[in-house]
Amino acid sequence: MSAVQRLGARLRALVVTGLAVLGGLALVQATPLGPLARMAVGKARGQSYRGPSPLASYRGEGGRQYGFLLPADEKAVAFIAAATSCVPVDTLLQVARAADVDAANLRALVDAHAVAGSDPCRVQLPAPLEGQAIELLPQGTHREQLRSDPELAARGLARVLASRRSTFASENDPDGLALEATLLGSEAVQAALTVARAAGLANAADFEAHRQYLPAEASALADAAVAVLARARLGRMLWPVDSHFRITSPFGDRMHPVLKVSKFHNGVDVAVPVGTPVHATLDGEVTRAASDNVSGRYLRVSHGLGIEAVYCHLDRALVDAPLAVHLGDDLARSGNTGRSTGPHLHFTLRLYGQPIDPLALGARGSPVPPAVAATP
């Protein structure tokens, strides 16, 4: 073999070996084979597996399923369901307006750091956030004051949010990025945005898009931050139909109108005439437009961060999957399809796969519709 031929063979072998290694890494990270292999190894060692589900890569979540990774879904559901911070809503709104920050973000931060227990109105901030808040509050503010006065803590958080917001003022979603930076650090978020844009992602400002590019130390925090970010996003939710329509069946246990037994109702029923416009409650993507024996014609919309909404018993859908939608977009006309006792919209809201009560969250721009006892 000549020297040239030998060189060619060596180069070819190097390339092929490199491809085998790269391909193996891609298989582990981007396909179900990786989680399956880790599950098998964990089982052989007698350890429980806490990574992404093998099914997650089909759900368009880039292999991550937040609900699976959170310490307990109940925790996220619990603090979302509470939805009432120890600081009165009016006060929070005043504080948010004064600091020119998104009220939903501020509320999510206060809710996240509210301490449950004997004194549920105590807001206990982590030390770094506490320090930043004190720096931005009037001189002379002490940690003890911050810990004993929830309203003062809220004002401190609002100022931290406002300072972060100025860093991202030129971005598409300065409020969302400000919240993220408050939790993960401005430098980490900025670095992730830069890399995401360099990777050619048009929606780099979305948390899900640039999450994978967060530096390692911030990436570890991101799992814990997802619940807060989701809570803030839910705080901007719009009601799917006009708020004057009556709610006939709220979320939770109820007497089933057909089966005459007590059953858990995983959503809210709103009595609306056939043909009533149904709107998108948040920005998101239609992931399925289909028909079902139980739910009739329905739409499933993913809003990111583990948030999902399902609109059931529709007369007709005006959109199809996949399609990006924006808050307030016209999605469908309500109907009476599927297993239904009358024209109504069944609206289900899920967080990390768990149904949550949309009434407890309220809806931006409209008061919470009055709930009426279900009529048989």
């Binding site: 063979a9 072998a13 390339v15 391909g23 179900p32 890399v195 360099a198 139980v294 739910s295 297993r339």
Partner: protein
């Protein structure tokens, strides 16, 4: 000087010679991982199809059960309201969430089965047309005989087309994945748009190397047998034009909202 020569010349040469010696292992391994990546890229198509199939089956079961219960009520073997209640019982009707999980689970199973099938075809690609189901005997289990049959008797063109398609998709997927990884490794120095250019170049380089380096392996394992069984000697000549067309299509669709088959190809970093 001697140490320098060893570290810079002889050691790398020895490593590369080792890689050359392992060629018989690394070549099929590289092809296998690309095929598996390609199958996963195509699996997005299965999800919706399987959901429709599950939904259709659910409707059929519901209709059958409801008909049977109505029949029993008609014969006075059951109270009409009891029959209606049982027909509406949620145990008979699978809700959306269970159907979703079922469909996605079936997608995973389908992908794994397709992986197995393509791997069998790929591993058996070196044999010529005269190879029979060798080694099989009445003592072999039905499973073994079935696997041998699947490996050797699939239509040549179908097998070749499936392997080539999976290989091409996998190469494109690996290119995109590599582009994303390179971009993430460049965190730190603020290179701005240069990061994107470097990452995209890296992705195209990986994709190109995968396609060009492993084409002879694909020809040997997939197309040679197809040519032998079908007599179509022109199959191997089709590979490069097909690859060029596939690359052009992938480039034209990348960055669009196209999903399914092109989600890994055109969707940015994995």
């Amino acid at each position: 000087m001697a140490l320098f020569k060893v570290l810079v010349v002889k050691l790398p040469a020895a490593v590369l010679d080792g890689m050359v010696a392992l060629r018989l292992l690394t070549e099929p391994l590289a092809l296998v991982v690309l095929i598996l990546l390609g199958v996963h890229g195509a699996a997005d198509l299965f999800d919706d199809l399987l959901f429709t199939a599950v939904d259709t089956a659910d409707r059929a079961v519901d209709a059958t059960v409801r008909g049977a219960l109505d029949g029993l009520a008609g014969m006075d073997w059951l109270q009409p309201d009891t029959a209606a209640r049982w027909a509406d019982d949620e145990a008979l009707l699978i809700d959306i969430d269970r159907k979703e999980v079922l469909a996605v689970s079936l997608t995973l199973v389908a992908e794994l089965l397709l992986d197995l099938l393509l791997l069998l075809w790929c591993m058996g690609g070196g044999a010529d047309a005269s190879t029979v189901v060798s080694g099989a005997s009445v003592d072999d289990s039905r499973l073994i005989r079935g696997l041998r049959r699947a490996r050797t008797r699939a239509p040549g063109l179908l097998r070749a087309a499936a392997l080539v398609l999976a290989f091409v998709l996998g190469s494109l997927a690996l290119g995109r994945w590599s582009s994303g990884r390179v971009a993430s490794l460049l965190v730190g120095p603020d290179l701005g748009e240069a990061i994107g250019d470097v990452a995209r170049f890296a992705g195209v380089l990986v994709m190109g190397l995968a396609l060009l380096t492993l084409v002879p392996v694909v020809q040997r394992r997939a197309l040679a047998r197809a040519e032998a069984t079908t007599g179509a000697r022109w199959l191997r000549a089709l590979v490069l034009p097909t690859l060029v067309i596939a690359l052009l299509v992938a480039e034209l669709t990348s960055g669009s909202s196209a999903r399914g088959l092109w989600s890994l190809v055109g969707g940015g970093a994995a």
